[in-house]
């Protein structure tokens, strides 16, 4: 290793040649504030918050973009540096609405934290504030350009991680805003609603669209039966909204909390994840055995679906026709369960708790209705659920766990895996293996498809057959894989695509500001559940079996096609 010595705050430390000063500082435990910095992405140097003083040249340099030099001397908190940082924050505040008390990001806003850290205690700089329109056109995401500090993280995530580029900087100088082509509403753009922009936004400029009012109305309405479902990732993520340790599984507590705030029935989307596996594995086998379009691609992720409709419409025939677990659950609730309870579907208000903002969009798609009734009426993100519970005075810390409701509550651990990138794949393979060989997998873990990497590939032997599988998350990775297939790659039969890097545990509706460690904790909790519990495959879920026996018949039956499958179409958007 090529190491050199540099002096930080008069203390000599070792640094690797070519690395950025910021990396050394982080390793040394010296905190230098950043606003535009995204780990592992080429530094943009826009916010200037991370400036440090280069003693020898007397200049302030940005530590995120300046590589270490032999024998350089750096001051990270000299008066000049701290004053400069403070002035920069004050400048930002001078054009910021600073209506923190009314802001969804109050108390977890990076700008707020910085101004507190730097002891901004007086409005020294004032001037004309920005006054732009709030864009509420999207079903999932609300943009408030007034609060935007133009750090550009959203632009870069949208381009570099998602490959969508729905937004970019528009105009120049103090008139710069982040917006879509011709600054139209986000709904006209190619935005896939993944919400990763929200995850990186340091302020309240990007938020999810809130549905509290409708849900509260429904809860208050005595004629309505309010049903809630929660995605596999929620139980391992919600804890962080309440300051509990990352990855803590609060499934039972959450059941109780949901009942406390007035939900009549509490179901688990993991149940319908199992259902999805039944349908999807049947479809995969059908395609393989009948010369259907391959590779088959999963359809659980609504961000990916919109992306495909816009950018990869040539692959629409490859995408599984299965609805996502959220929509399957919605459809089953308003048919099977409604029948069972002798209830009219109109009187059911169906809420889904999702780690995802794109699910809000998915729920309002035209295809996701049957006979004019929407499968799912409202979607809350993990964050919103946290806020909703707090608003209703429910704190997770002192609640006794409760069981989920039956018959749409029992789950296998395979369904639970849906939270992680690679999980759908693993669950589907377990069931497909059984269906094709009549035997259960001995080694139920498939390590090749686990982990945070953007692309994972494996060759799986099922009986005589070897099938190639690929798992991608972060749509840039999906785009690359699809291009390889366009160019003639033939060894892949089944692909799992998740829009968000790492899958739903890192979805756009999750806790903001989670570290990589927190993500890993969520992932490992899911796998721990899988290790510990007994029912590890979807086809052994008794309630799913019951559903088929009593209602659907068998996978890919006429009725399941009507309720659980859908279709996609090429979308013309401003892209």
């Amino acid at each position: 290793m090529n190491t050199i010595n540099i002096k930080i705050n008069n203390k000599t430390v070792e640094a690797n040649k070519g690395e950025m000063i910021l990396d050394v500082l982080n390793r040394q435990g010296i905190k230098v504030p950043t606003l535009c910095h995204i780990k592992d992405v080429f530094p943009s140097g826009a916010c200037r918050m991370c400036v440090v003083e280069n003693v020898k040249t007397g200049k302030l340099i940005t530590s995120c973009s300046y590589p270490v030099e032999d024998n350089m001397e750096i001051l990270t908190h000299s008066q000049r540096v701290v004053d400069s940082r403070k002035t920069i924050v004050e400048l930002l505040l001078s054009s910021h609405p600073d209506d923190c008390l009314y802001c969804v990001r109050n108390n977890h806003c990076e700008l707020q934290d910085l101004s507190a850290e730097l002891q901004v205690r007086e409005r020294r700089i004032s001037g004309k504030k920005n006054n732009y329109h709030i864009d509420r056109s999207s079903a999932s995401i609300v943009r408030d350009p007034d609060k935007c500090i133009l750090c550009g993280r959203c632009v870069r995530v949208c381009e570099e991680i998602m490959g969508v580029s729905a937004i970019d900087f528009i105009n120049r100088g103090s008139k710069t805003i982040v917006g879509t082509t011709f600054n139209k509403g986000l709904n006209n753009s190619s935005c896939i609603n993944c919400g990763q922009c929200i995850m990186v936004c340091p302020t309240g400029a990007l938020t999810e669209k809130n549905h509290f009012a409708e849900i509260r109305d429904a809860i208050q309405n005595p004629k309505r039966t309010v049903v809630v479902q929660y995605a596999p990732a929620i139980s391992v993520s919600l804890a962080e909204e309440f300051g509990m340790s990352p990855g803590e599984d609060v499934n039972g507590i959450m059941n109780a909390a949901l009942r406390r705030v007035g939900f009549d029935m509490v179901f688990d989307t993991t149940f319908s994840a199992d259902l999805t596996i039944m349908e999807e594995s049947a479809e995969l086998i059908h395609r393989i055995q009948n010369g259907g379009q391959l590779p088959m691609i999963t359809s659980c992720c609504p961000g990916w679906i919109k992306y495909a409709e816009e950018f990869a419409s040539d692959f629409i025939p490859n995408i599984s026709s299965c609805k996502s677990p959220q929509q399957m659950m919605g459809a089953v609730i308003k048919s099977y369960w409604a029948d069972k309870e002798c209830m009219s579907p109109e009187n059911i208000y169906s809420v889904a708790i999702m780690p995802c903002t794109a699910k809000k969009f998915e729920a309002q798609r035209e295809e996701m209705t049957s006979k004019g009734i929407t499968d799912v009426d409202a979607v809350l993100t993990t964050r919103e659920l946290g806020a909703f519970l707090k608003m209703m005075g429910v704190n997770l810390h002192n609640i006794e766990p409760e069981m989920v409701d039956s018959p749409l509550g029992f789950r296998s651990t395979a369904g639970k895996l849906f939270a992680n990138s690679g999980g759908v794949m693993e669950a589907a393979l377990r069931t497909a293996y059984y269906k094709l060989t009549g035997k259960e997998l001995v080694q139920f873990r498939i390590p090749a498809v686990r982990g945070l990497e953007g692309r994972k590939e494996a060759k799986i032997k099922i009986g005589e057959m070897e099938i190639g599988v690929a798992v991608v998350s972060g749509l840039v990775n999906a785009a690359k894989l699809l291009q390889e297939i366009r160019e003639g790659r033939k060894d892949i039969h089944f692909i799992e695509v998740m829009a968000c890097p790492g899958g739903c545990i890192n979805g756009g509706g999750q806790h903001i500001g989670a570290s990589e460690g927190a993500l890993k904790a969520r992932i490992s909790t899911i796998y721990n559940i899988d290790d510990k519990e007994v029912v590890k495959v979807s086809h052994k879920n008794p309630e799913v079996k019951q559903l088929y026996d009593n209602f659907l018949g068998e996978p890919l039956s006429h009725i399941s096609h009507e309720l659980l499958h859908t279709h996609y179409q090429k979308r013309d958007v401003l892209k």
Binding site: A46, S84, I125
Partner: protein
């Protein structure tokens, strides 16, 4: 190409390639060369200065009038449209070279003057008016009582290397450029030096970048030379955006081949085979002439593949800017060429390591490149002998504002500002008092009376809070308000800031607002507003410091300079605006308070009709009054009043 041209080409190329060290040519060759460069002519030659400034002053009409005249009188003469010789205030300029006579130059030739002047000169008499000077040459008769150009005060103290041919030669005729020694430096560079030696030679000459920073040009080249890469790029920055600067435009319009030659030499030195000239779209004439020059150079084999069989390929493309001042910054410029938003990126990595399309790239401006052929031609030592110890060579300045002669001057480094303003440019017109000169445009600062005797070089200017910049000199007299000047530059920078980094984007906006509040009447008398205003003023210096310290690129780092500099030298003017709410120069109209003299007012009502805010009331035929609260100080009433009844309080 016609046969004749082809013959010329062969002859001229031989001339270019002729061994440099034996600089003797036979009489026949010399004669032939003299024909190419219009030293010798069989028929009269009329030159009209047709640069942008000349055309703006009516050179197009003058040209037409000359053509009409010649046609009418049935005179067979050659007409050449030259670039700008630099004396913009004398445009349109027309020169005449009669066979056997010295070339004689006339100033301010509007269409009506053309017949008279031409009549006289064709009778071999010197016209009584509009004579500017004559050019000296050995083999021609001189005009009696006409000063030589070297005697004209505007030109006498100049040393013209970059501007050598400007306004003299036909810019779109490569034959003339070659006949004046053009492209010989390129040949010398390729045949005498290795690329690395060439870099060393330029280092030795002491040439520093003329675009602002003043980095040693040869060093920059050497950095790029040392990089290993499959492709390197050379870029000429001709995105001259400073208000009040037009040197690059004049050089390209007047002598484009000089730039191309300089670039080819630089390309050889760093090992670049591809080059771009990034030029403002607002310079259509320069672009047109550049394209013609490029075509000619390619036809002559002076650009393109395997130049003179040396194995050196060099290709130049013209890229038009789309209107963004910040693209004068190196990394922003490269982004713009790449088809992106012209936003700077942090350095390091420097362009010489990772530049255009990620490849090693050298960026110099027009003036820098245009110096190179002279350096190679005469040698580094020769160049290093001009100027001061740390600033070698000459510098071109664009003079404008309240100065008698406006235009372009090229002076050796070390000349004092006083000499430039008062000896060369004739001082301040209308008996007004000199106040200050703004040097370096929006990034620069002002130089006051006390500092007029400092030498012009990179370091002395920085020492007094100004900078060389690209070379705009805007002169201000006592009628100029320095707060208004600072506001003008801040407004400019604020609009041109790319918006990427916070200190520049938000900081310049706030500084402008503060300056605006200083130069306008308080909207209300409320104490909160007064406090806010006061706070703002307290912030100016502090904000300026942080913007300088923390901005991402040169634009931001120098953005506060005009404010800081005026604040340093003209604090009293700021104080007058702040405390007395008065603009001493009477420029900040919003601070003016008008009064109607009841004795002079006849009640004609014209002023109240002109007033845009209905601030003047009064009955017909009786004295009127100004409602102070409504008055915005525009001065429309004062302009309209025929009885001089309205005055500034």
């Amino acid at each position: 190409m016609c046969a004749n041209c082809n013959n010329n080409k062969t002859f001229l190329l031989e001339e270019v390639l002729r061994d440099y060290s034996t600089n003797t040519r036979d009489a026949q060759t010399l004669n032939k060369m003299a024909v190419f460069n219009n030293e010798q002519n069989d028929i009269p030659v009329v030159f009209v200065g047709a640069g942008t400034c000349g055309l703006g002053a009516g050179a197009g009409q003058t040209l037409q009038a000359v053509k009409d005249y010649l046609q009418q009188k049935n005179i067979n003469a050659k007409i050449i449209e030259t670039g700008c010789i630099g004396l913009c205030s004398s445009e349109p300029i027309m020169d005449i070279k009669l066979p056997g006579f010295n070339r004689i130059s006339f100033e301010k030739i509007t269409t009506d003057k053309v017949p008279g002047i031409l009549d006289t000169i064709f009778e071999l008499n010197v016209p009584k008016t509009n004579v500017l000077c004559q050019f000296d040459s050995e083999n021609n008769r001189k005009w009696e009582n006409v000063p030589f150009i070297t005697e004209h005060p505007f030109f006498a103290q100049q040393k013209r290397l970059v501007l050598k041919n400007c306004g003299i030669i036909d810019p779109v005729n490569i034959e003339e450029y070659i006949s004046r020694g053009g492209y010989k430096s390129l040949v010398k560079a390729i045949s005498v030096f290795s690329p690395l030696e060439l870099c060393e030679h330029i280092i030795e000459s002491g040439l520093r970048g003329r675009g602002g920073g003043g980095f040693l040009t040869g060093m920059k080249w050497k950095f790029a030379n040392k990089e290993q890469s499959d492709q390197k790029f050379l870029i000429c920055n001709a995105d001259e955006g400073d208000p009040g600067a037009f040197m690059d435009r004049a050089v390209i319009e007047g002598d484009p081949h000089r730039l191309l030659e300089g670039m080819a030499i630089a390309g050889y030195a760093i090992g670049a085979t591809k080059a771009y000239i990034y030029i403002r779209a607002e310079y259509p004439l320069a672009i047109e002439r550049l394209k013609i020059a490029l075509k000619q150079a390619a036809e002559y084999g002076l650009l393109g593949k395997n130049i003179f069989e040396s194995g050196f390929d060099f290709e130049i493309k013209v890229k038009m800017g789309a209107g963004a001042f910040v693209c004068g910054e190196e990394t922003a410029l490269m982004h713009s060429i790449e088809g992106k938003r012209g936003m700077p990126r942090p350095r390091p990595p420097f362009p010489t390591t990772e530049g255009l399309f990620g490849k090693p790239t050298v960026i110099n401006n027009v003036e820098t490149f245009s110096n190179v052929p002279e350096i190679i031609y005469h040698g580094a030592q020769w160049f290093a002998a001009i100027g001061t110890e740390k600033s070698k060579g000459t510098k071109v300045f664009a003079l404008s504002g309240k100065i008698s002669l406006t235009g372009l001057v090229e002076i050796p480094m070390g000349t004092t500002i006083r000499e430039v303003l008062f000896n060369i440019a004739g001082g301040i017109p209308n008996n007004k008092k000199f106040k200050s000169v703004q040097i370096g445009g929006p990034s620069g600062g002002c130089i006051t009376n006390e500092n007029l005797d400092i030498q012009i070089d990179y370091d002395s200017l920085i020492a007094v809070g100004a900078m060389m910049g690209s070379g705009g000199l805007v002169v201000m007299d006592e009628d100029t308000c320095m707060v208004d000047v600072a506001k003008f530059f801040m407004d400019f920078i604020q609009r041109e800031s790319c918006g990427k980094c916070i200190p520049c984007r938000e900081g310049t906006r706030r500084m402008l607002e503060i300056l605006e509040s200083i130069t306008s009447k308080p909207r209300t008398g409320d104490s909160n507003e007064a406090l806010e205003r006061f706070k703002g003023i307290m912030q100016l210096e502090k904000l300026g410091k942080v913007i300088k310290d923390t901005s991402l690129c040169g634009l931001g780092q120098t953005a506060p300079n005009p404010v800081m500099s005026t604040l340093r030298w003209f604090r009293d003017e700021y104080e007058a605006h702040i405390f007395d709410r008065k603009c001493p120069a009477g420029v900040c109209t919003n601070l003016r308070t008008f009064k109607i003299d009841v004795d002079k007012c006849t009640g004609c009502t014209i002023c109240s009709k002109k007033c845009p805010t209905q601030a003047i009331i009064g009955a017909k035929k009786s004295p009127h009054f100004i409602v102070e609260d409504k008055c915005i100080g525009c001065g429309a009433c004062q302009e309209a009043c025929k009885f001089e009844a309205i005055s500034v309080l």
